[in-house]
Symmetry: D2
Subunit: 133 residues, 4 copies
């Protein structure tokens, strides 16, 4: 992914640490795709009736991570308040979804992978949030 290359071709000032920012863009995109795929995999499980809450938290988490990746990919007219609030929503969605997926991790490999991605994404966003202050 040319996330860092694009950042380095941005013609004005970037107010955040580029390494942390690139990590968070990558993590949110990756988590969004994993959640979309996990929702779909749950939908095809025989035990779909026990995975209703899991599908729902996957759908929320995918939408919130996608939006966070977009907000973090923009540097023009930077507004720390928006970045901070969207990171907090993202950390919350990843924490809730990761915890839900974790409950099915021993049964379903897709939930195991998704729980891991959610935790990594929450951590990466938390690190960036701390750096913003």
């Amino acid at each position: 992914m040319p996330v860092r290359e694009m950042m380095d071709s941005y013609p004005a000032t970037i107010n955040l640490d580029r390494g942390l920012l690139a990590d968070a863009v990558q993590a949110t995109l990756q988590c969004a795709q994993t959640c979309t795929a996990c929702a779909d995999a749950c939908l095809s499980e025989q035990s779909v009736d026990q995975l209703r809450k899991c599908v729902r938290s996957n759908l929320d988490c995918a939408d919130i991570c996608d939006t966070t990746a977009r907000v973090l990919s923009r540097h023009t007219g930077y507004d720390a308040n928006i970045t901070r609030a969207q990171l907090q929503a993202c950390i919350q969605a990843c924490t809730s979804c990761g915890s839900e997926c974790h409950q099915h991790a021993s049964m379903h490999e897709h939930c195991r992978i998704c729980a891991e991605e959610c935790r990594r994404c929450a951590d990466t966003c938390q690190t960036l949030l701390h750096a913003i202050g």
Copy 2:
């Protein structure tokens, strides 16, 4: 919009006030569309170089409002923490974007309408957030 009709055909319990919820779904969808259109209108203004920050906050606000409308349209496996955090991000985005658009409201009718939509959306989300507690 059949927002309320769809809500009333939901087969399980909805944990929030249906009127406030339907208002917030409608307001976020409407604000998202208005922000997408305002970003595009700014892009075609002669004075586009003075509207860079406005375009950016419109793009963030459109993405965040769209995601909020989706989160609020789901009731299965309700998680108050996610709804709360996403509403807070939405209120922040609408406040920032509304304030930016307001600065161009006397020059550009699209910014005037957009500032108004952002303020209405922030208020409607705030009312719902209070109800969630």
Copy 3:
């Protein structure tokens, strides 16, 4: 929804019929929200195992309609080829999803409403597509 007001405040030329365009923006947004809500309602039905395909087509249709609403809300640097191709994808998604929802319409009110919205959205997009030529 101030769809038409925003269109009328656009500072440059709009290449399409404003009435048809505004109708299509409204229809795609409305269909997207209805599909998101229908996917969620299906997920809470006792018979969720018979609604797997319905949930999936709802999710695709919601994403495709949302993107179509955004493309149609932009007029700067108009490219008929993109608008045409995205409208065709939208008509296909609405036709497939409407037909799937129609099969459950007598059992589930949310599927009945959603089938109707999908058909209305497909028709409105078809009318705009014909006007583009």
Copy 4:
């Protein structure tokens, strides 16, 4: 990205070649992020008034690629007609956006990278479209 891992944990049949599918998911996600970043970089260029059409095609391409990545990440209730139509819209958006960015490639590194990503994404989607038939 665990795109392929998630695919391999899907509990039912996948109707398309997994390698081609994983390549297309990766390419569309990557192109979407690059387009979002390119729109933002253009917005901060001194010559923003000459990049209006470029920003617009970047925004369309980002939305269409994101939606395509989601459609391709789902396998439940597979409908070749939707996948085909969305791939065609994606190829069109990437071709238009890549051609627009290419015109600014010698001036702006972000447009050069973005033109390349758009072409790679169009090619990868074309290969998958051929395989679907």
